[in-house]
């Protein structure tokens, strides 16, 4: 088994310091040319991302935002029409033939539908990339053995994929992706076809691989649990661009763009309750109450700011919805309140809440 390669890098990434860069995406665009039936599609528009060694980077965004296109560009399955991508110093977008194949062996990939060969057993599936690489049988046998051990499916080595559960299949997929000792692992919705418990187990495995082997992971997901449980940083994509990027905690607790905000609240189940959503309108003039979303972060999340707010203003601040979440052990809260709709209250409340490091967002008004 390979010794842990980048434990230091991994730890640094976890602390948020800038580690050495593993993946650089610079000014990358991808235009799918027009066909007889459809117009040209700009799937990626001038994307810049730098991902550090040992980092777990999450890509989120609506369907069709360009996530898969970007991920597939990292191992050259997709050719950018402009820009440059390098992985561990190798300029992927400029490579060809044997050089490209050599670079790809240093980049593992796992898939939503596993993409295992139905004609091969667990053992032989994991052996495939090693056969491609031209290893002899003995070396393959030893390597596959350790990999199956690593992902915890040694007992299924002679089973065919059809005899495995979804979680087991993904473990085989992970073992296969790690066979050639890659420095980078790409994951396109690898847990989307799994139930929540299995998802958690697979995430734990990925986090473990990241920690012990120092493998840099780039993953696409539609699940908040994935983002919160294992990502260090996230990028939010929309219409071919990365519109927001940063530490998971910052992006999730305080999204800066509307798109990120609505996307994240949908993901985390923080959508407004239906009865409230239906009554909301944007017309201040005829409103009695304003509906505000307050976001608490850091240590302040636990301070009783809301109680003080009510205390100080004596106003009837009604809590409509409240939720406290945790990312990497750091709490953040989101509270939706109905407050008086006059400007005076607004200004005073904003100032007050700023002291408590609470972000205020006005969602609308109710009668």
């Amino acid at each position: 088994m390979s010794a842990p390669t980048f434990p230091e890098a991994s730890r640094r990434a976890a602390r948020g310091a800038r580690p050495a860069q593993m993946i650089r995406i610079e000014g990358v665009s991808r235009v799918y040319p027009a066909t007889k039936k459809s117009a040209a599609v700009a799937a990626l528009k001038d994307v810049d991302i730098a991902i550090g060694a040992g980092e777990i980077y999450g890509l989120i965004g609506r369907s069709g935002a360009g996530k898969s296109t970007l991920l597939r560009a990292i191992n050259g399955l997709e050719r950018p029409t402009a820009g440059r991508i390098s992985v561990d110093g190798a300029g992927i977008s400029a490579l060809d033939g044997e050089q490209l194949r050599a670079a790809r062996r240093k980049i593992g990939m796992i898939f939503q539908h596993f993409n295992l060969l139905s004609s091969r057993t667990t053992f032989d599936n994991v052996a495939l990339p090693l056969e491609f690489a031209g290893l002899d049988r003995k070396a393959i046998g030893m390597r596959v053995g350790t990999l199956l051990e690593l992902v915890g499916i040694s007992d299924k080595r002679h089973r065919y994929p059809v005899e495995l559960s979804g979680g087991e299949k993904q473990r085989v997929g992970i073992a296969r992706a790690l066979a050639t000792e890659p420095k980078v692992l790409l994951s396109d919705e690898a847990t989307s076809a799994l139930d929540p418990d299995t998802t958690r187990a697979i995430l734990a495995l990925l986090a473990d691989i990241n920690r012990t082997l120092g493998v840099t992971i780039v993953l696409i997901t539609h699940e908040m649990a994935v983002v919160k449980e294992i990502c260090h940083r996230v990028g939010v994509m929309e219409a071919g661009q990365v519109i927001e990027e940063g530490d998971v905690y910052d992006v999730v607790s305080r999204p800066r763009t509307d798109i990120a905000r609505s996307f994240l609240s949908a993901l985390s189940g923080r959508e407004l309750p239906r009865w409230l959503a239906e009554k909301l309108h944007p017309d201040r003039e005829r409103a009695l109450k304003a509906v505000l979303r307050l976001r608490f972060t850091g240590e302040k999340a636990t301070e009783p700011a809301i109680a003080r707010l009510a205390q100080k203003f004596g106003a009837d601040v009604a809590i409509l919805q409240a939720q406290v979440d945790e990312i990497g052990g750091r709490p953040f809260g989101s509270i939706v309140v109905a407050a008086p709709a006059d400007e005076e209250f607004d200004a005073a409340a904003h100032a007050f809440l700023a002291d408590y490091d609470v972000a205020v967002e006005r969602i609308g008004y109710v009668d």
């Binding site: 399955l77 790809r104 062996r105 990939m109 495939l128 056969e131 994929p161 790409l186």
Partner: protein
Amino acid sequence: MSTDIFEQVRDALFESLYMVSAAWAIASLIGVPLGVFLATSRKGELLAARRLNACLNLIVNATGSTPFIILVVALIPVTRFIVGTSIGATAAIVPLSIAGAPYIARVVEGAIREVDHGLIEASLAMGGTPLQIVRKVLLPEALPGIALGLTLVAVALIAYSAMVGAVGGGGLGDLGIRYGYQRFRVDVMAIVIMILIALVQIVQMAGAAIARMVNKRVRPASGRSGRA
């Protein structure tokens, strides 16, 4: 006299088996690689070679759409050139092979195109060369379909071989025509038909069994006793 008929039927059967298996083997040798190439050489595919693909496609279509009996006649000069004669079982192998090859190519092409594209993607991502991917991924994954296809073609060749009998190709077809049709021996005709049916049945069953054996996409039945 009946021993005489028996010997004739036996010899005709062996002749038919000889024609069909030789033609089937030759057609497979040409058809399988051709099918693999057709399935992987369009634009953007593994072995992308658009011109050659279009060219071979045309040839396969042309051969495939020519009625067999016309093919036999049209190929007489070629057969003479290769075998030295255009009459007899060995000569019949030429048109049978040439009719079988495009058929096999199409069947193999279909089976390979059925393979999930995700597997090709995954293989490319693992750093496989196009030839490695064909050999280690596409062919094994398409094997159940290929086995069924080859069976189909074997059955078709049995039927064709009976047809070449009609134009002097020997074998069961020849016997059936000479005795059953020209000499009104209904019994000989019946025997020929029954043997042909049995042959097709055996080939069909063997092919299906092999296809089932190489198909790992289906969970093997857990118990022996299928009945509840």
